[in-house]
Amino acid sequence: MIAENAALAFAWSYNDNDQEFSLKGSLRPQKSDELSLCMSELEGSVAKVSGKFYVNVRRLVRMNNVAFHALACKILDLVRERADLSIHVTTSSVVGWATRKFAVLEAVSDKITVSEYDSEFYPGQTFLEEGGFIPILRTQTKLTWHHERTLLADHGLKPDMEVADICCGIGDFAVLLQKEYRPARLVALDHSRSSLDYARKVAGEFGVRGIDYVFGDASEMLLESDQFDFVTCRHSLQVFDRPELILRELFRICKPGGRVYVTNEKNSHCLGEPRAETIQKTYNEVARLWAHFNMDIELGPKSRRYLIEAGFDDIRMESFMVTNRDGNPQDFADIIQSWENVYAGQMAVQRGDSEEEIRALRKGFQDHIFAALHPKGYAGWPVWVASGRKPA
């Protein structure tokens, strides 16, 4: 259901399966009876269940005290009337006031619990955020920048644009972009606080000003619609189990006529000489390993389809190959080593691979490094770049 006027643009829905009542949008009514329909549906939903009932306010962005009073009293009444009922409220860490505001409910009844939804955000979060990924990302960006620096212009990026980098990681791409393209505005968003802290520190140390590092959830951003001329999202659609949800948001924040630019990989196409065969074997296995955790490291060539299905037109697409010849071969080798550490050292272990299997997996990485550092060797990592225009 939807209620709509300026201060009151909110919607609610009830999911029977999960016994979950969700509220989203902006709730700033003048009088509490403006919420009566929503409150009676909440009551009606609770009437049908026993045990634990969930109230989801993760997407509730604004709420005044008139609304909070109405909702808080209703929730308290419900658990007081029904001995068999307890209520759990789920808030979001992205909405700064929410957890503290709802926490008072725990103080008045031990049948009400409140928690922030954050964990298990996307399938591989623990590997990527807590694993040794920060050094990988830095070296990766250094090598991909070698190609993207000029490619970005071919995809429509120009100085003085309003730009957003979504899932910015540790923010070094934003720094490079800021220096090279001098955007009028640059917002860099990620859902990892430690990465953002790191990003702010690096920007500070390098004296780079003007990048707005923002904590947020790419699948439901607080950023307003139709704001950016150019939206980038690099190496990230491939870590979500439902990339179309992220694309929908990238589309939304992009100005009509603006462009969304994504890069993704297809790891099974990593290659090297000598020792091509073991290298190939390992990267085929990497693709299966990611799939096991519901992530698609083979997404690269599918970007065109994803962009078209998200409503973009004028799709431009190409690929480039990062190689050991792009600069110092040791940089390339460092990337592969950190892949081995995370993929073989953590993900395969968690999948329950045998020691034998892990040894075989490691072998291909080591051979890839061998090829990269070999005086006559060649080692490559292909990346797919795609961009689309939001119809004007």
């Binding site: 201060a7 003048q30 005290n65 008139v66 909070f68 006031w97 607080l222």
Partner: protein
């Protein structure tokens, strides 16, 4: 609408970010003005914060409570003068509006409660009261949840001043 005001506020020596004067009757002609104004101002003052989006969301929430309170309780005619100042991480909101002695008393009382040692208990009482919440609930919440420092001041011209000082990024994100 807003005149980008130079210099410092009359009441504090903090640098002024923004000031606007509105007719109180115009402001109170439509409830959505509170929401629109808090959203608009929050965007204006958030661009150079540590996290502009998180900050704007908190700022808008806090400012909206102040505006809604004034919307509900104010004198009949005159000017609403709204200004915001900032020094480092301290944000200050100043609202000057028509108020007779009774209205001034309502605010003095609410601000005293919000600053009281047991403000938290008072907040819970007000929140879970059976009746529609009084005008003090928003101010209580600002004191309790946002750690706002609230104060009031009487003006000679039949107006009063409500001030909130907030440190929105001081707390842990």
């Amino acid at each position: 609408m807003p005149a980008p005001a130079e210099g410092v506020s009359a009441k504090s020596d903090m640098p002024q970010l923004l000031q606007m004067d509105l007719d109180i009757g115009d402001f109170c002609s439509d409830w959505s003005h509170c929401d629109l104004m808090s959203g608009y101002v929050a965007r204006m003052v958030s661009h150079n914060r540590l996290d502009s989006v998180l900050f704007a969301n908190l700022y808008s929430s806090a400012l909206n409570e102040l505006l809604e309170t004034v919307f509900r309780v104010h004198g009949q005619t005159g000017t609403l003068q709204f200004s915001v100042q900032r020094q480092d991480n301290l944000d200050r909101v100043e609202l000057v509006f028509p108020a007779d002695d009774a209205i001034y008393g309502v605010y003095k009382d609410a601000v005293a409660k919000a600053s009281h040692d047991n403000a938290e208990t008072l907040y819970l009482e007000a929140l879970f009261a059976e009746t529609e919440p009084g005008p003090g609930l928003g101010l209580l919440e600002l004191g309790v949840d946002y750690g706002a420092r609230l104060s009031t001041d009487r003006h000679d011209d039949g107006r009063m001043c409500l001030i909130a000082e907030l440190s929105l990024e001081g707390e842990k994100e």
